[in-house]
């Protein structure tokens, strides 16, 4: 990972049209960007498109980038690209077969292989993980985004607020409401919920 100084230099060179420098940023962040899109959209194909769109639009707008934090800047663009895609789906419901809406989600919306998953990581069973991913996709997009940025991307409330252009109070409230929903949803599946609690003990 680049140090902030290196990043700033890459950003500056990108602004001058240095594609190679920009692609260094792409390589550094493409996993996070893709992951965010995948968690938001639930479909690998849609996530791939959204990620590509993210970097294209990032390249076009690198001249307007403010602040030193490339990560939240890219994540914001990715979040916008994902939400645009969700809106598009809502406008064209016939294309939304992949969307995991309550009662209408694919059998296995996400099968994210975890190469780092060793025997010791199996405490959280595939079943619970899957349930979490499904419930995450059932959250309203604004809560989903806040929870993803907080718990999956590990951003601080302040960074999230900057990313989504909302106040910290809004961020706090969205995360809390999102988590409450997830908790209620898991409570409805006692064996999974028990596993969740055991997992942390």
């Amino acid at each position: 990972m680049n140090t902030p100084l290196d990043e700033q230099e890459l950003v500056d060179r990108s602004r001058r049209g240095d594609l190679e420098a920009f692609n260094c940023l792409v390589i550094a962040y493409q996993d996070r960007v893709y992951n965010l899109c995948l968690r938001m959209l639930g479909s690998p194909q849609a996530a791939e498109d959204a990620a590509q769109e993210t970097f294209l639009s990032a390249y076009r707008s690198v001249g307007r980038m403010r602040g030193p934090n490339v990560r939240s800047w890219l994540l914001r663009i990715a979040a916008n690209a994902s939400i645009d895609e969700l809106r598009r789906r809502r406008r064209q419901p016939q294309l939304s077969l992949e969307v995991a809406t309550p009662g209408n989600e694919p059998e296995r919306p996400l099968e994210v292989p975890d190469p780092a998953e060793g025997p010791e990581r199996l405490a959280l069973h595939g079943e619970l993980r899957e349930a979490l991913q499904v419930e995450l996709l059932r959250l309203p997009p604004d809560q989903r985004l806040a929870v993803i940025l907080c718990d999956l991307e590990g951003l601080s409330y302040e960074e999230i607020a900057a990313s989504i252009g909302r106040s910290i109070g809004t961020v706090k409230s969205r995360i809390s409401r999102g988590r409450s929903r997830l908790r209620e949803a898991l409570r409805a599946q006692p064996e999974l919920f028990g596993e969740l609690i055991r997992h942390t003990e």
Partner: protein, 310 residues
């Protein structure tokens, strides 16, 4: 939940922020103190922590391919096409376009405005010309009065019982024309005044008639009285001073067909003018349509430019 909240000074939001380490120290201390004593909050806190931990352990998906951009992907913004290639000239051109648009709009506006005032002028013209029109008409009407002899001469024989058919027929013709003229040009309210106008003035006719001839012969001759109506109407044709029954207007004693015809000619003139005036409308429509078209074209150009720029 509400019940739970009422009893608890700590809400879900605080607990959630607490597990993220996002509570200010004072609030954190208060929460910790409360949780010590509250089993429900401890449980909620445990669940939140478990959930957060589980979410954080969700596997990070790796990008299925490289999203590095190729030259081909980014050529549009880098080596932009014509409009963007204008570079710094772009905004300038945009400004010029805008200025041209404004100028054009102003021109069209002025034009339309001129036309508008012209038309209203036309209207006031016709208002003005109504008197003018009626002036000649009046003078024409007066002519008979000013030169009563011929008229009277004409009448005299009539009144004198010499019921010349031509005269009568002519009168009839005039009659035929008179209502026509009146009806054509005067609206209902225009028609009203004459009735009032005629009554006081009509005595003139009978007078004239009476003075000139015996009663029996009069009956047909009194028809000119109606002609007076027609005449009164004829002033209205200007139609533009409806509430103004021409009290001052000297009613011809017995307007001759000639006078009526002259009036009719006046009417025709007025009508023709009105038609001419109406003839401008398509012109205005065409001009308006052209302006609208030009506006649409210009704005779409501006839009294209703006989007290219963006």
């Amino acid at each position: 939940m509400l019940f739970w909240r009422r009893r608890h000074p700590i809400g879900d939001q605080e607990l959630s922020a607490y597990v993220d380490g996002e509570l200010p120290s004072a609030a954190r201390a208060r929460l910790e103190e409360h949780v010590e004593a509250c089993a429900a909050c401890r449980e909620a806190l445990e669940e939140l922590r478990a959930l957060r931990g589980a979410l954080r352990e969700l596997p990070q998906a790796a990008a299925p391919r490289s999203f590095a951009l190729r030259e081909a992907d980014v050529r549009p913004p880098l080596a932009p096409r014509p409009v963007a290639a204008l570079g710094r000239a772009g905004p300038l051109l945009g400004g010029v376009t805008a200025a041209a648009l404004v100028a054009f709009g102003a021109l069209v506006g002025v034009d339309v405005g001129v036309l508008g005032t012209e038309s209203s002028q036309g209207a006031s013209d016709s208002v003005a010309s109504a008197p003018e029109e009626s002036q000649p008409a009046a003078s024409r009407g007066q002519e008979p009065q000013e030169t009563p002899p011929p008229e009277l001469d004409e009448l005299a024989p009539l009144a004198g019982g010499l019921e010349t058919n031509e005269a009568y027929g002519d009168t009839e013709k005039a009659l035929d024309e008179a209502p026509d003229i009146g009806v054509n040009r005067s609206s209902p309210d225009g028609a009203a005044p004459p009735a009032g106008a005629t009554t006081p003035e009509c005595p003139d006719c009978p007078d004239a008639a009476f003075t000139t001839g015996p009663a029996p012969a009069l009956t047909p001759e009194c028809l000119p009285t109606t002609l007076c109506v027609g005449d009164a109407l004829r002033v209205n044709p200007g139609g533009l001073s409806p509430g103004e029954p021409p009290p001052g207007e000297p009613l011809p004693l017995a307007p001759t067909p000639a006078a009526a015809q002259a009036d009719a000619a006046g009417e025709v003139e007025v009508v023709m003018e009105a038609e001419e005036d109406g003839g401008r409308t398509p012109l205005r429509v065409a001009e308006g349509a052209t302006a609208a078209l030009a506006l649409v074209a210009a704005s779409s150009l501006a839009l294209v430019w703006w989007r290219r720029r963006a």
